[in-house]
């Protein structure tokens, strides 16, 4: 049984089809990268896996650890182990970051039949993970994603991922808006999470990110379909030639 298996997926917004018969299989422990030009449907795919209500699936299936992902609500998908690191994390004014993380963590623990953490255990876990990614106490006191720079938002997304320990991480353009230093911090944060039981799907325009996080498989997505798959050399080829051959 594959870890994630997408078969003949057709999906879009309203009547507008964006994903047009996509197939993708990811095994446990693998890191896959999807590259593609603007408008090819990469971000749509990540939103559909996470369950964004704006998208409709017309046909096809997504199995995650053998479970029918499409029949689950977004929160059930998250608690089953799916995590989407957003390209543009939503700002939640008035919702404190620390309290938000505590709610998210304890909801997941409850879902998995584990004991909820008390305030002391939670703070200890929070501090340990935060220090590694350069997240300050001051940042945790702010409202979720409010008043953060582009780089800080991506660090907080990575931090949430490390904190919630999902099995399957979708990284939607993690490198956009990051300078070299921040890219290094975020990539290090992701690399330490690479483990045999965890898989990743990275979505990116550029090969740059792949120099920091080496993928096992690279896919090229054009017009709602995966048109070619290969190893890292495919990304290098794209960097040189662009997407022209695949349009």
């Amino acid at each position: 049984m594959a870890f994630l298996e997408i078969k003949n997926l057709h999906a879009g917004i309203g009547e507008k089809e964006i994903i047009k018969g996509l197939n993708l299989t990811i095994e446990k422990g693998e890191v896959h990268a999807i590259m593609g030009p603007n408008g090819s449907g990469k971000s749509t795919l990540s939103n559909i896996i996470a369950g964004h209500p704006a998208y409709t699936v017309y046909e096809g299936s997504i199995l995650f650890k053998g479970k029918d992902l499409l029949s689950l609500s977004p929160d059930e998908r998250a608690n089953s182990g799916v995590f989407l690191a957003f390209q543009y994390p939503t700002e939640l004014p008035g919702v404190g970051t620390a309290l938000f993380l505590k709610t998210a963590l304890n909801t997941k623990r409850k879902f998995l039949g584990e004991k909820e953490l008390d305030a002391v255990q939670f703070m200890k876990r929070l501090k340990t993970r935060a220090t590694a990614l350069g997240i300050t106490d001051e940042m945790l006191k702010r409202s979720v994603n409010v008043g953060f720079s582009g780089g800080e938002k991506k660090k907080i997304e990575t931090f949430q991922m490390a904190f919630l320990e999902p099995d399957f991480c979708i990284l939607d353009e993690m490198d956009s808006g990051l300078d070299i230093d921040a890219l290094k911090v975020v990539s290090d944060g992701i690399n330490v999470m690479r483990e045999p039981h965890r898989s990743f799907l990275m979505i990116t325009h550029y090969q740059r990110l792949l120099n920091y996080i080496r993928p096992d498989v690279v896919h090229i997505m054009v017009d709602g379909r995966i048109v070619r798959s290969g190893d890292m050399s495919l990304a290098l080829y794209l960097e040189e030639k662009g997407y022209e051959d695949y349009r």
């Binding site: 977004p74 608690n79 939503t90 919702v95 909801t107 879902f111």
Partner: protein, 206 residues
């Protein structure tokens, strides 16, 4: 929870005391350099609050949270009269509506021609959690003086779909996510005594 009536508080000279809203009609006059802050939790019926800023330097702040469910119909009216120059007022109204409930809000700011250098603001926002709930918000600004600062704004709509999705994508179910966002929407508005009742209401009805 049993809803028995509306709940009010007034802060005057930095002392917070309960305000009886049973009659539904209240009026206040504010003296020279005096400030009053009124807080109400509007749960049933009609509520009309009128404030006259009688002397120079008088200030008032009118704050209301209304929570509506089932088929309740409510009316809220805030009326501020700037009798003297250099007086200032603010009106802040936040509402949550469920089911087939409806709300009619009228906010008046009146500034006669001799009351120069006054400041009057009004802001109304409401979240509709049902397609059948409705709000009418009418700002009535009667301004006859020409050297004043006045503003009003109103926004009514459902909760932000992306904000809900963000919380859900972190494992928080839709009901809990909705409560978190509503609590944030009303944050730091009301004294603790009222906030506790708001929390109870949300736990029961949302």
């Amino acid at each position: 929870m049993k809803i028995t009536g509306n709940i009010g508080f007034i802060r005057k000279n930095n002392v917070l005391s309960p305000l009886d809203l049973t009659g539904g009609e209240l009026s206040f006059s504010v003296d020279q350099d005096e400030t009053i802050q009124i807080y109400c939790l509007h749960l049933i019926g009609s509520l009309n609050i009128k404030v006259q800023l009688q002397k120079e330097g008088a200030r008032c702040s009118l704050n209301c949270v209304y929570l509506s469910h089932q088929k309740t119909r409510k009316n809220l009216s805030f009326e501020v009269i700037h009798d003297e120059k250099q007086t200032s007022s603010e009106q802040i109204v936040r509402g949550i509506l469920l089911d087939q409930s409806s709300m009619n809000f009228v906010g008046t700011i009146r500034i006669p021609s001799n009351s120069q250098k006054c400041v009057g603001t009004q802001n109304h926002r409401a979240v509709l959690l049902s397609d059948e709930a409705s709000v009418s918000a009418i700002p009535e600004l009667e301004i006859y003086a020409d050297d004043v600062q006045c503003s009003h704004g109103s926004a009514v709509g459902p909760l932000d779909e992306n904000a809900l999705f963000y919380l859900q994508s972190r494992g928080i179910d839709k009901k809990h996510a909705t409560q978190i966002l509503l609590k944030a929407f009303l944050t730091d508005l009301m004294p603790n005594e009222i906030q506790t009742v708001i929390d109870e209401w949300m736990a029961e009805y949302v």
